[in-house]
Amino acid sequence: MAKQTLGDWIKPHPTGIYVEPGDFWIDPSEAQGMAVVTHGHADHARSGHSHVMATPETLAIMETRYGEYPKATPMAHGEIARIGEVDVGFVPAGHVLGSAQVVMEYRGERIVASGDYKRRADPTCAPFEVVPCDVFITEATFGLPVFRHPDTAGEVQKALDALHANPERCVLIGAYALGKAQRVIRHLRDLGHHEPIYIHGAQEKLCNLYQDLGVDLGELRLATGRKKDELQGTIIICPPGALNDRWSRRLPDPITAMASGWMRIRQRARQRNVELPLILSDHADWDELTQTIEDIGPKEVWVTHGREDALLHWCMTRQIKARALNMVGREDEDD
């Protein structure tokens, strides 16, 4: 019999990762029987699964978005469960509140699926933990050396500087409703901005949930329905899609900002009509991606999605075996 290849018990599909000896999927994009979900973003957490296993925070986020699941198993960080013949554990990924890497052990092999992750400090979630393993399944959203996210506080400070320089205007920040919005708000508070922050209606539920789960966001108010003069000199957070929408036309001459890793590329910012780009992402930048692979030292690297070509090339130059899994529908254009 031919020698077994590393990780051959894991079957990558364009719609998710199937773990055969446990008969479960990781982040499936179609409804499945048993789904292990790394975090609450819609491209990873879908509705319709019969049984979901995730961290309590991720389950709370999924419930807020989709309603209750028929069966949900909460898994705290560090807890280990046996599914079929596989031992499954969750460790923090540092991406958004509740985000986790999935650690799987079977037949003496350890495989870690990172989900989405970042390495830098985020006051709204637990930091990424390095788990040595045989195969590291990573994302590569910002897998090109042009992507280097600057210091987060410095980027958020830009919004405050713009606000103070233009007291008759408002600063409208486009930020993804889950994770990014709350992180920006938390950083604004840490930089000493204690005035009420106005939010778009689509972000209210998740902001409330974050507050319930112990992330203090200070006083938030809904922006909709306010008079122009009330919003002068304020910071308003909205989903990226609302930046150039009819909704934003009622605001007092907004300075259009967007908090996203893509803002590193000038033309990307131009394409979105952004005047004040804030380079701030919940995904690892190039240095974090490569540093993480070095820290973990896996025998193999599998890349789920993103700019995988460059990361595969980088692995090759360091004699690390690597392959692309070509997952579809996971392009975080807004992050």
Binding site: L144, I265, Q267, R268, A269, R270, W314, V328
Partner: protein
């Protein structure tokens, strides 16, 4: 340098034309000579450093960064200067550039650089600068800024900054070299308006609006053919002749045959054409080859003897701006036309003729004549108000262009490449093909314009989701999507496998409704060659 870098940075993120003009104007007012002059030269594309080219920046970067990663990044970002500014890895311990490093000292240094010194000086600059300065430096050093600011916009800002008349700025512009201290002195009222009576300077062209669905009264408008060549201005004064393109570029060196033949004091406006056989009939003027023939001679710094004999150029005159030193531009078109008809016969007949007036009974008759004109050298008709003065730019109601309707064909998208500029990182350049009689799909053209942003997103998604092969930056896609392509004409071409080439192809619409098998055949396109 910091102020110039900040200006570029802010221009990149500013959408509104007026806001851009204000940013530039404020910079020009607040910055001393000669820095502001060099900045203006950069914005108007007038800077050229012999020893610093894009290739040098590329090879310097490849010394610092893995060439494969650099290439992937460049393809993704869509702009060399931006890519390098983002991924340049400074030499450890490199001293940062002083805050007050002047733009002019960088420009002086770049000008004085020898080919041997260039690599060392450029890497020293790149090491010392922050990313925004690196971006500005590379843009500055390698020419094309491509930040959404045209030369015209920069001159508009200059005019606005110092309350000057824009046409007057255009007029004196071409006689003054960067850093334009005489121009700023005029603007600030410390010196008179510069004058160029004795040198052949560019005079801004009068341009036309598309006619679209409007009709005009032929008693007020005269019609003439619109020739498919290159619009040029010929200027002779004081023993010197210059040829300028529509954008004011000096193209004298590409057409020495024409320049040498224009030896009478004056300025005329006309169409530069190459003699050939596929061309207007005798009553239209005759003897002009298609644009394809002319293309062989465009953009060449020197022209071979062979080319001069095989593709001799001539000018079909449309208008006259100066007769001797006399400025005719304020005269009505009819009067200028009489002066033109008297002027051109004094020039060598094998190099110059006058574009014929198209006589028609009425507008409908003219429409019929236009439809009947199938010569490849004719683009359509021009309609000129009989009393129009020669005014720089596009003035409403004066001149109209009435192009022939475009031809169209249904083609299948075969390959795609990422675009640059505003469309960077989107797959926005498409190669498309038609069917041969043997049932093979062969490329017939490439287009990157004509689509809305929404269509762009659709096509980008299609390319990403239907990639079947990768060749460097090029993606091959499933041959399933039909694009309706519009183009001005078709020519035979030895360079293309299909044997044909389209002139000015653009995407007309996406034909989601049409199966690929029903796209047009190459034979259909061949039938359009005229």
């Amino acid at each position: 340098m910091r102020a110039f870098a900040d200006l570029l940075e802010r221009l990149v993120y500013t959408r509104s034309r007026n806001a851009k003009i204000k940013l530039i104007a404020d910079y020009l007012i607040g910055t001393p000579d000669p820095d502001r002059g060099w900045a203006l030269a950069a914005l108007t594309g007038e800077l050229d450093f012999r020893t610093v080219k894009a290739g040098l920046i590329k090879s310097l970067t490849e010394e610092r960064v893995d060439p494969v990663l650099f290439k992937m990044s460049r393809s993704y970002v869509g702009d060399m200067a931006e890519t390098v500014s983002l991924l340049w890895e400074p030499r450890p311990g490199a001293e940062p550039a002083p805050q007050d490093l002047r733009l002019s000292s960088v420009v002086d240094r770049l000008m004085a650089l020898s080919r041997a010194e260039a690599p060392l000086q450029m890497s020293a600059y790149l090491d010392a600068m922050v990313p925004t300065e690196r971006f500005a430096l590379i843009k500055l050093a390698t020419g094309a800024l491509r930040i959404g600011v045209s030369a015209r916009l920069a001159k508009t800002a200059l005019a606005q900054a110092f309350a000057l008349d824009l046409d007057a700025v255009e007029e004196v512009w071409h006689g003054i070299d960067a850093p334009y201290t005489a121009l700023f002195a005029w603007g600030e009222g410390t010196a008179p308006q510069p004058s160029h009576e004795d040198i052949p300077v560019f005079r801004p062209f009068m341009l036309a609006h598309p006619l679209e669905d409007a009709r005009v009264d032929l008693s007020q408008y005269a019609a003439e053919w619109k020739w498919d060549g290159v619009r040029v201005q010929l200027n002779h004064v004081n023993g010197e002749t210059k040829l300028f393109s529509r954008t004011g570029d000096d193209v004298t060196a590409s057409f020495p045959d024409v320049a040498d033949a224009f030896q009478i004091h004056g300025v005329i406006d006309g169409e530069l054409l190459v003699k050939g056989d596929a061309q207007g009939t005798a009553d239209q003027g005759g003897e002009a080859a298609s644009f394809n023939a002319l293309q062989q001679r465009l953009g060449r710094k020197t022209v071979s003897k062979k080319m001069l004999t095989e593709a001799p150029a001539f000018v079909r005159a449309y208008d006259i701006l100066f007769d001797g030193a006399e400025d005719l531009r304020a005269l009505p078109w009819e009067e200028r036309r009489r002066r033109l008809e008297a002027f051109v016969p004094r020039l060598p007949a094998e190099r110059f003729d006058v574009s014929a007036i198209v006589e028609a009974d009425d507008f409908d008759h003219l429409a019929k004549i236009r439809e009947g004109a199938r010569s490849a050298a004719i683009e359509g008709l021009m309609l000129k108000r009989r009393d129009s003065a020669y005014i720089a730019g596009r003035k409403v109601g004066q001149w109209y262009k009435w192009k022939r309707d475009p031809l169209t064909a249904d083609c299948v998208i075969m390959y795609a490449q990422r675009g640059s500029g505003r469309r960077s990182s989107y797959f926005s350049d498409y190669t498309f093909g038609c069917w041969t009689e043997a049932g093979e799909l062969v490329p017939v053209g490439k287009a990157y314009s004509g689509i809305t942003d929404e269509e762009l997103r659709f096509l980008d998604k299609f390319v990403r989701g239907n990639t079947t092969g990768r060749f460097g930056p090029v993606r091959e896609v499933e041959k399933t999507l039909v694009l309706e392509v519009a183009f001005d004409s078709v020519h035979s071409s030895k360079r293309h496998k299909s044997g044909i080439a389209m002139r000015f192809p653009r995407i007309h619409r996406i034909r989601n409704d049409k199966p690929a098998a029903e796209a047009d055949r190459v034979r259909t396109l061949e039938a359009m060659i005229d």
